[in-house]
């Protein structure tokens, strides 16, 4: 607890700077990196997860008091979130063709592939 009584909130500042860097890096990845789309998506999602953990551990004191229950609960929440999102996208990605698509007549296979790239 001694760290808490310091005047200078070191952990918070490190966390804040880390978040700023990650946010800018993600923005740069989109605007200026020129990477293939799916690599951009993977990299910015990874950076988002890292930022979320910064908040949870450095700002929110996740490990205090009932640490093991709280960490377990959060991990499970992330697992459920992944199931809901990935499961829904996978289950519902069939046979959709919207107006703006150039390959509207490209058949279901193409569409499914495109949907996967989208997300």
């Amino acid at each position: 607890m001694s760290a808490e009584n310091e005047k200078f909130p070191k952990q918070h500042i490190v966390g804040f700077l880390g978040s700023l860097v990650l946010t800018l890096a993600a923005a740069w990845a989109v605007v200026g990196s020129g990477l293939p789309t799916h690599w951009i998506i993977i990299s910015i999602m990874v950076m988002a997860v890292v930022q979320a953990f910064i908040q949870l551990f450095m700002f929110m004191h996740l490990t205090e008091k009932n640490g093991s229950i709280q960490v377990g609960n959060m991990l499970h929440a992330f697992f459920i979130a992944a199931v809901i999102i990935a499961g829904s996208v996978w289950t519902m990605s069939f046979g959709f063709s919207h107006n703006h698509s150039d390959n509207g007549g490209g058949g279901e296979e193409m569409q499914m592939e495109e949907q996967e790239h989208n997300h």
Binding site: H76, S88, M92
Partner: protein, 649 residues
Amino acid sequence: MMDFLLNEFLVTGDPLIYGAMVSIVLVSIAIVFVLTYFRKWGYLWREWLTTVDHKKIGIMYIIAAIAMLFRGGVDAMLMRAQLTLPNTEFLNSQHYNEIFTTHGTIMIIFMAMPFLIGLMNFVVPLQIGARDVAFPFLNAVSFWSFAFGAMLFNLSFVIGGSPDAGWTNYAPLAGPNLNPGPAINYYLLGLQISGIGTLATGINFMVTILKMRAPGMTLMRMPIFTWSSLITSFIITFAFPILTVALALMTIDRIFGSQFFTLTGEGMPMMWANLFWLWGHPEVYIVILPAFGIFSEVISTFARKQLFGYKAMVWSMLLIAGLSFLVWVHHFFTMGAGAGVNSLFSVTTMLISVPTGVKIFNWLGTMYKGKIRFDTPMLWSLGFIPCFVIGGVTGVMLAMAAADYQYHNTYFLVAHFHNVLIAGTVFGCFAGLTFWYPKMFGHKMNEKLGKISFWFFVIGFNVCFLPMYFLGFMGMPRRTYAIEPEWMPLNVVSTVGAVLMAIGFIVFVYNIYYSFRYSEREKTGDTWDGRALEWATTTPVPFYNFATVPEITGPEAFWKMKQEGGTTYDKDNLEPIHMPSDSGVPFIMSAFMFVAGFGLVWEWMVVAIAGLIGILACMVVRSFDYDHGFHVSVEEIKETEEKAREGEK
């Protein structure tokens, strides 16, 4: 104005509904009259409407659930009456649609869940040696939001018209274009309001069980019903937000014109089915796991043996909880998501039968070489095993995606889920209620009447639902209001079964009255030679539950205490007990939720906003409330305990 009142607001034109209106008015007048005549308004407000005592809240849940079981049961009887013979004109198709919708919704949301949550409320704090739940105020909010949500839903029946798109409420049928008017809004708002309460219950019980156990009661020393409640709460906490969102999205579709589940604007109707079942499948386990817990307690008590395979039981429940979130697509295999999707969900579904099978063998193992007593709670538990296994086996049949294309939407499915939900949940509720009844009300339910009601119900249940499997094979579709002549014989059999079940239910309810009048009062707290801590308290249980909380040194806390001479009244170690204060805020806040919901149902935004402001005002009042509760003095504890324990000597 009159025109609106007669054509839209009130449901008119059906003699059955006129009858219901008259009876609702008469019953309401009778209640007001009785309360006024006996000057019970103050008593009602002080002792019940404002209470935060988990035992009273549990009892209110159970009373409400039995009332809802009656309403849902009447719906069921109406359906059976319509389906007995071909060309029946008893109900028209619209009325039939409304009846099967309200039957399903009420039985799942307003009967099964509150019944089990009621039992959890009453029993769990007693089983872990706690004096109340972790957040007693929140617990009252949970109950009252359920009660007002249920009231809102049931109101649809006479005001505005009942929802008619099935309990699954699929889009686009339930969307604004195909189903204008307030009916579906009642479904959405009624479920939304009670769902908020359920979510709060989940969080409340998780904290209660994790943090308020008696000293020495490790997780692996907890009674199995408490374990099942913990796991159920865990599922509730993660599943109910999904329902909240799904309901909200459809509400916004209907009231504010968004395009989530519509056919226009590139909306996606099947996304509703996806979200509904993402919640809906975990929901199935929410209503079955506590029942498993009850059966485990009852079988162990009446076989007079420690539960066989306690650890396997716990792990199998955890596994079921984990898998429950991974199987939802099996409810809509026929959507045609493709071979990959259907195969995966087929496999995960079949996997669930493994931990469930483990539990069946644990119950059988518990009875093996036990000295079994055949009291009513045990009969319900014994009846459960074979009936539930039939439901489980047909469930595995349905799990095969390719075969499901044949079974889907037929009476085979109807028979399957009634076989698991009635044999599992309803038998579980009856077993639990008769088991803990003496602890709640100070007297047993009459054994003879209990057995009569059991045999009527169980025989009726099988006569009613077994023919439905064959009707399914014969091609009888689900949710049809007219049968073909060749389906008649089996439908007649099925209706006879339903009548037997109704008789069983009536006997059960009569038993409550009969036992209240004539049953011998309990002299000790330990009616059944019990094994868990709830039986260590006196009957009736003092409002603070335990004068002193015993130190737990092993599993089956009370069984050990009986051998070693422990007590929950250690005269020399009494300390003042801190208890929470009662509060009227939960009741008032939930009443405002009702107002807001009613406003949204009719799209009267002024009313809705007024209700919302009321809810927020209650939250502000609560935020500024620094009431720390009160302390019960040592003298008062002594006096209460001495009086309660007189009979024991």
